[in-house]
Amino acid sequence: MKFTIIVNNAPYQSQSSDTACKFAQALISEGHDLEQVFFYFDGVWNALVSAEPPQDDRHVIENWSQLAQENNLDLIICSTAAKRRGVGPSIAPGFKVDTLGRLSEAITLSDRVITFGGS
């Protein structure tokens, strides 16, 4: 089955992004296709390249970058949401800035769209 994941929360303050990343890994390891991960609202903070969490904590942003690299994934951050918050132009590896049009395409192509965070 083909999936798209939407991440709406920033890393660390909530667990949404961690859970989304683990869900993405699980999907792929079960043999499903992951069409796209789209970051919206404060979710765009997941692409912050300068994040340096304490060494004994997990690195949420690097986890995403690694997932993208290993699986040739598209991690898309919404351009309007990112500009509003000052995320970019320099962003973490594996992330790309694009419009809601990319999400629209992904919704068209996917059997399931799963949203993490937002409320």
Binding site: Y40, A81, G101, L103, S104, E105, I107, T108, S119
Partner: protein
């Protein structure tokens, strides 16, 4: 697989105090512009988003009302309001700035069941 999906936005947030309302509407309109079949429901504090005569100038927030004036330019399928959310806030249909269909909470499950994509915030 059909090209155009039915997309349902559940808007439960107050129009001000966070950017959720504005950004959720931006997404709804964007998906509509890309020819998905978009419907929305306003419920809980979300009903305040479509209240008439809003003036957030005192708190320095952008007025959300012009977003709804652009409504006619988009082909939004259906706009719903949940009845009890209006009633407990002392609001009537005439307090709303756009035409809506009022529905009961127990109709919501059936409505959600028909959708391909749900965005709940």
């Amino acid at each position: 697989m059909s090209q155009n999906k039915t997309c349902f936005f559940i808007n439960r947030r107050s129009p001000y105090g966070s950017s959720y309302a504005q950004e959720a509407l931006d997404m709804a309109f964007a998906l509509s512009a890309f020819e998905h079949k978009v419907s929305l429901i306003f419920m809980d504090d979300g009903v305040l988003q479509i209240m008439r005569d809003q003036d957030p100038s005192g708190i320095g927030m952008k007025n959300i009302s012009p977003t709804f004036r652009a409504w006619q330019d988009y082909e939004i399928e259906n706009i719903y309001v949940e009845k009890e959310s209006l009633e407990i806030r002392g609001m009537k249909k005439s307090d709303l700035m756009i035409e809506v269909k009022i529905i009961e909470a127990d109709q919501l499950g059936k409505l959600i069941g028909k959708q391909d994509f749900i965005f709940n915030d």
